[in-house]
């Protein structure tokens, strides 16, 4: 399949309702951190961009939201043209300019503080990170608490960034500034908003 065809195919079959379904899953995941909100396959983006991460980009990104792609997603021209055709989102020059960042290999990603943190006056002007992970059970377990969680929640996302717990503590300390994370798994989405605290698990 040539690049032009790859760029055009694989978008939402039913743009209005698919976008609404994806958004509601992300909203519920953001409101209840640590829960997996299931999502069917709505988008077929070119590899290695995952179906879930691609669907989130289609639901939330447009010409107002500069996108940053990680080192794995940057080289394939098909991904840029697919995102460009379906969302119209420009690519951010630096991670600090990005409204959304698509990360295919979180284990090798740059530090969280390299992305836009927002300002103390406008903490909403920060980057939302969309991390592709294979599941929420096979990684190091994270014990979560904070708004949206009744007592505690536990997830164990695979392929998380290096020193993630330490980096996330620093992200918490920057509140109200900081980044928010959307974890895109093949089954659905889970979120870590900046208010979620990770309690270190005793071995």
């Amino acid at each position: 399949m040539d690049i032009a065809t790859q760029a055009i195919e694989g978008g939402f079959a039913d743009p209005v309702f698919d976008a609404q379904t994806v958004f509601r899953a992300v909203m519920d995941a953001m409101a209840r951190p640590g829960t997996l909100q299931p999502l069917p396959v709505f988008a077929r983006p070119p590899a290695p961009l995952s179906a879930t991460a691609g669907a989130i980009a289609l639901a939330l990104c447009d010409n107002d939201t500069p996108l940053w792609l990680d080192l794995v997603l940057q080289p394939p021209a098909a991904i840029k043209s697919w995102l460009g055709f379906h969302t119209g989102a420009p690519l951010a020059n630096t991670p600090a300019d990005a409204h959304f960042a698509l990360i295919a290999t979180p284990a090798e990603m740059m530090a969280l503080d390299g992305f836009s943190q927002g300002t103390q006056d406008y903490p909403d002007r920060s980057t939302t990170l969309i991390l592709q992970v294979s599941d929420l059970v096979s990684g190091a377990p994270l014990l979560l608490e904070g708004p949206g969680i009744e007592t505690t929640a536990t997830i164990a996302p695979a392929q998380m960034p290096r020193h993630f717990v330490e980096q996330w503590k620093q992200n918490n300390q920057r509140f109200p500034r900081g980044v928010d994370i959307i974890l895109a798994t093949p089954e659905g989405v889970a979120c870590l908003p900046r208010t979620t605290r990770i309690k270190t698990m005793e071995a």
Partner: protein, 301 residues
């Protein structure tokens, strides 16, 4: 093109265009991530005047899907002009199911009340907010209030509450009573009676606030700490009523005073009409309840 299951046009399902919905949806996500912080958004003109709930309508329009069940209340009532109009609006533009029953709704748009029936996980409460900035009447400049929120400088609000005590002997604020969210942002709960403030604290439902004219969206995720501001020697108290609802005899609910005649007659009835009707169906009767059993009426459209 294949035929859609519904006969309404889907390119502008729920009135708003897709780009507007994406913009509002992004603001909602930021609002949830920063509880109590007012996220600016590009509020649109809606087919109703500012002050009639354009902010709440835009939030509802951005989150609603074909499977949702919508309830709209205006001061607790399902059958007042604002509530009926907004419910009819969404029936027309989104073809969604509507209800007056709190327990059956997935989205409840409200103007200034929280239903008496406890909300559950999975429900979304959407508030119509006139003035989202709790500090606005104390400091009119947006540049200053923004700085005050950034620096967590809320002394002015405590001075205001203190002046209430100095003047009236108690905190005289009875609605739009300021709250602190997760120990950080001071937030206006919209002009709900302070009676409803405790219901916001650690509610299992997601609460979204939309202010159309002022172009702000803010949010409270479920199980978020919402504390009404007070002083140790003047703790926060909610309104109490010395008589039960005249129709359903409910106690510990918010009551409206209704004038009955030209001779000073009045009664106190539940502000939450759904709650009151449910109780009367269950056989609860207040001292002014009609003799004949409540007739089953058609729910307002």
């Amino acid at each position: 093109m294949t035929a859609q299951p519904t006969d309404i046009a889907t390119y502008n399902f729920a009135y708003l265009d897709e780009q507007t919905k994406r913009m509002i949806r992004r603001a909602i996500l930021k609002g949830i991530a920063i509880p109590g912080y007012q996220v600016p958004f590009a509020s649109r003109e809606m087919p109703m005047p500012y002050g009639w709930g354009t902010g709440g309508v835009q939030v509802t329009a951005s989150i609603i899907g074909p499977d949702d069940v919508l309830k709209v209340i205006d001061q607790g009532a399902d059958d007042t002009t604002n509530a009926v109009s907004i419910r009819a609006f969404f029936k027309k533009v989104a073809n969604v199911a509507v209800t007056t029953e709190t327990a059956k709704a997935t989205i409840i748009q409200t103007r200034h009340r929280i239903p008496e029936h406890p909300l559950t996980a999975g429900q979304v409460l959407v508030y119509q907010v006139p003035i989202p900035e709790p500090l606005r009447f104390l400091e009119p400049r947006e540049t200053e209030t923004r700085k005050m929120h950034a620096l967590e400088e809320y002394g002015l609000m405590h001075v205001k509450l203190y002046e209430d005590i100095a003047r009236h002997g108690r905190i005289a604020t009875t609605y739009a009573y300021p709250v602190k969210v997760e120990g950080r942002y001071v937030m206006d709960p919209s002009p709900t009676p302070k009676f409803d403030n405790p219901k916001m604290h650690r509610s299992p439902a997601l609460q979204l606030f939309g202010a159309g004219r002022e172009k702000r969206i803010y949010a409270l995720p479920p199980f978020t700490d919402v504390v009404s501001l007070d002083f140790e020697d003047h703790p926060f108290e909610v309104q109490t009523f010395d008589q039960p609802c005249a129709l359903c005899a409910a106690e510990n609910v918010y009551l409206d005073e209704v004038i009955l005649d030209d001779h000073g007659g009045y009664m106190f009835v539940c502000s939450d009409t759904d709650h009151c009707e449910k109780r009367r169906e269950q056989g609860h009767r207040g001292h002014l309840a009609p003799e004949s059993p409540l007739e089953k009426t058609e729910p307002a459209q």
